[in-house]
Symmetry: C2
Subunit: 124 residues, 2 copies
């Protein structure tokens, strides 16, 4: 790989990093102050609000980019705030289904406005 190509690659990474950081921290800040939820919490709510019916805890992992343990705790926090519910999966009693509550759906719809605003402001 040539020096030039390597520099371009590194520059691309720095741009990606800067872009991500700017959007994420702004999302974190604005969602927190306006709706009391974090950016990851929002992503989880969005996934739950837009997926058709039942959603496994594991399904959330692929959406929000967190570890299994972090996802587990994230769901626990959301449940504690009454935004989602955990239900036993009767077919496979190891697993749980996570479903969004009405309160969660309301929170999502409200936060969605803020979320899109930030994307329009920072991403473009």
């Amino acid at each position: 790989m040539s020096d030039v190509a390597e520099k371009e690659l590194v520059q691309e990474w720095h741009e990606l990093l800067a872009r991500y950081s700017a959007v994420f921290s702004t999302l974190e800040c604005r969602l927190q102050e306006s709706h009391g939820i974090g950016a990851n919490e929002f992503e989880a709510l969005e996934r739950l609000a837009t997926c058709d019916f039942k959603c496994r805890s594991a399904d959330l992992i692929s959406t929000i980019h967190l570890s299994q343990s972090a996802t587990s705790r994230l769901v626990a926090r959301l449940e504690k705030e009454g935004l989602v519910e955990r239900a036993l999966c009767e077919v496979d009693r190891r697993g749980i289904f996570v479903t969004i509550t009405d309160a969660g759906r309301e929170k999502y719809l409200a936060a969605k406005q803020t979320h899109r605003e930030v994307l329009r402001e920072i991403l473009r």
Copy 2:
């Protein structure tokens, strides 16, 4: 903003997020196991290794995307491992200069290989 444009914006964000997460976590993992440093530590070392001479603590903040306090602790960790040195700035005795040590430069050059490998693997 049309629904289509909004969907594109959201999709772009998700791609950015996925791309960032993939690169960062791989960097974190590979740099840690091969060189015992994190991805943020590497970015700091790179900044210090490539900037001409003195570098203020504050200058690092703009490079690595961390808060002032996190940056302060990052420098403290690097100093503890003998990779950088903190020197009083005689002109403005509030500030400090952070300089990379020989050991730090060696570590950087070694880790750089791994860093570039990951970028080539994941980013492209």
